[in-house]
Symmetry: C2
Subunit: 357 residues, 2 copies
């Protein structure tokens, strides 16, 4: 008897629908042979929906999405500077609202430099690390305010909120992740010399949890120093655990050095399983190239691999990763030999190629 997985699909705006279409193609192909059925519900959410209806994410949307087993998201966000979106803040009202409401306390972002993929670093050696970014605390909590707004006396504050409960669980997840990787190495990234209160909380919990993981080697870097190592010696990293904002910054840099955000996948995970986890490419909606089959669907397809892994379908996940790797290697061979067909492929051609493999 085959298991049924209820998947909420939020294709979103811009290139979102194009890359999601390819991701679903791959999902369908790879699970043909698996004892699992995906039961898809499409949700129309994002800037387009907002412009149509004025809604960003209603309580009904949220309840309906919550009733699913997992979520696949393309990208959300309208054309930058569109005056009709001025007060919408789709990012906060939709993306962050989902992450917070569904308690996605682990934001998992692997960085792998696939063979043959060009990096701005030239040949930086092996790059294969994963950032475990906290997803429900820190400066992202929306705990800010301003007085005397619009005047020369304005004061605007933002509060970073960090709890032992919230830090401990993500740190533990990061140690588990490190334990299951060959190098078993964890780096805490923070700014403990300046953010002394949140910094000592993170430092304390890493030290405490480390006792349960004697097989994992731990070190620490300030966030500023971490950016230096990411460009001078990315091979030194295995698992990075860090707060929401530092994680945001480091993962874009990490994506840039390992082939660009066209290849960067992410999982917003609720490890408890109380809420559906959400898988999405790190890239945005790129309205400037939308609708023209120019987007690379690889990040969305790799997000499917993370989704399959999360569902315990590790074999299918591995097949998706292998197909992507093979496709990426073929791209670089094509472009090196200048053989026919080496021109840029359409979004769906990349999807088809990966399906075939």
């Amino acid at each position: 008897m085959s298991r049924s997985v209820k998947l909420a699909v939020i294709a979103g705006d811009g290139i979102g629908p194009e890359v999601v279409a390819e991701a679903l193609k791959v999902l369908d192909a790879v699970t043909q042979s698996e004892p699992v059925d995906f039961d898809l519900t499409h949700f129309s959410l994002g800037a387009t929906r907002f412009l149509d209806t004025g809604d960003v994410l209603t309580d009904e949307d949220l309840a309906a999405i919550s009733a699913h087993d997992a979520i696949l998201l393309g990208a959300v966000g309208g054309v930058p500077g569109d005056p009709r979106l001025k007060d919408a803040n789709i990012e906060r009202g939709l993306l962050l609202k989902l992450r917070f409401s569904l308690d996605h306390y682990v934001n998992l972002r692997p960085s792998v430099l696939f063979p043959g993929v060009p990096s701005p670093l030239g040949d930086p050696g092996e790059v294969d690390f994963v950032v475990v970014r906290e997803g429900t605390e820190g400066p992202y909590v929306g705990n800010g305010g301003a007085i005397r707004q619009g005047t020369p006396q304005e004061v605007a504050n933002e509060v970073s909120v960090n709890t032992a409960y919230g830090v401990e669980r993500v740190v533990r997840y990061a140690f588990e992740t490190a334990r299951n990787r060959p190098r078993k190495r964890l780096t805490l990234v923070h700014k403990t010399n300046v953010l002394v209160f949140s910094g000592s909380l993170w430092q304390r919990l890493v030290t405490e949890v480390a006792v349960d993981y004697p097989d994992v080697a731990v070190d620490y870097l300030h966030v500023d120093a971490a950016t230096i190592f990411l460009v001078t010696n990315p091979s030194r990293f295995d698992v990075i655990v860090t707060d929401n904002l530092f994680g945001d910054i480091l993962t874009d840099l990490a994506a840039a050095i390992s082939g660009g955000i066209g290849l960067a996948a992410s999982g917003n995970i609720n490890p408890d399983g109380r809420f559906p986890s959400m898988f999405e490419p790190v890239h945005g909606s790129a309205p400037d190239i939308a609708g023209r089959q120019l987007a690379d669907p690889t990040a969305a397809i790799l997000s499917v691999a993370l989704l399959l892994d999360h569902l315990g379908l590790t074999d299918a996940a591995a097949r998706v990763s292998a197909a992507v790797t093979a496709d990426i290697v073929a791209r670089s061979v094509d472009s090196n030999t200048g053989s026919a067909g080496s021109g840029p492929r359409s979004t769906s051609a990349v999807g088809d190629a990966i399906v075939t493999r």
Copy 2:
């Protein structure tokens, strides 16, 4: 009649005294022909002083330093993890205390990739930009706290404080800087989609001040996207204006891509002239290589160029920069041709070479 400049010198810890010695050599040489006398007072501050006396920075120290016209700082900080320094926090108690007490609201950090200097980016094209980092606000204000410390119920907060007064003045300085550069381009870096209150304050003041600078082209990047551009297209940047924490992160990355923190100089500037400005290399005290003449004094010497510029001695500043550039070019020629003397030079040999030029 020659003008007298009272210079407070804080050589500090680790490699600080070595690089400051070379910086002072260069200062002395370049001002021989100028109608200016430097009157030096050496202050013993840093981890060494703390271990000797238990003081980080006394009120008397601060008053004495304030009575100077400018400050040259090497580097402060003891051996990481030294248990005797556990409660000292030299960074907060000394470096940040000076920046805040002396109202160093501009933290100026130029990034130039000198000809022939290797970059982890290979050949990224021309890199010549300056980060104007706010120095007295943001998450650096020390406005944090924790409850139930050390327990599973701990909550640790950090407040980023941003004022129209504080943002406007640094933004105005950044526009002035942009106006005086050939490309006249300013990029605001923030995270307005998440930090909505501080973000809209920054955005508002950049928009308002821009009215007075119609000759300066303005754009905006989220901090995560800015890290991507720094590694994929650093030439796009001319002047970056940003908050204290984002500036900290971006300037380390900027230093890494433009030859390393061995070359990165900075000025902590009080443009009002009410307090002495402070010039320092971006690098730290590097206790692991201290006392062995292994440190590159170039960043400290370039900090002298910033100091001279600040004092209006633009001609002398230009001569220091030119000598450094010539020395750096010579290094790369030496190492390319493998000619004799191409081995690494001692700290003082680099200083001497720059003095000679």
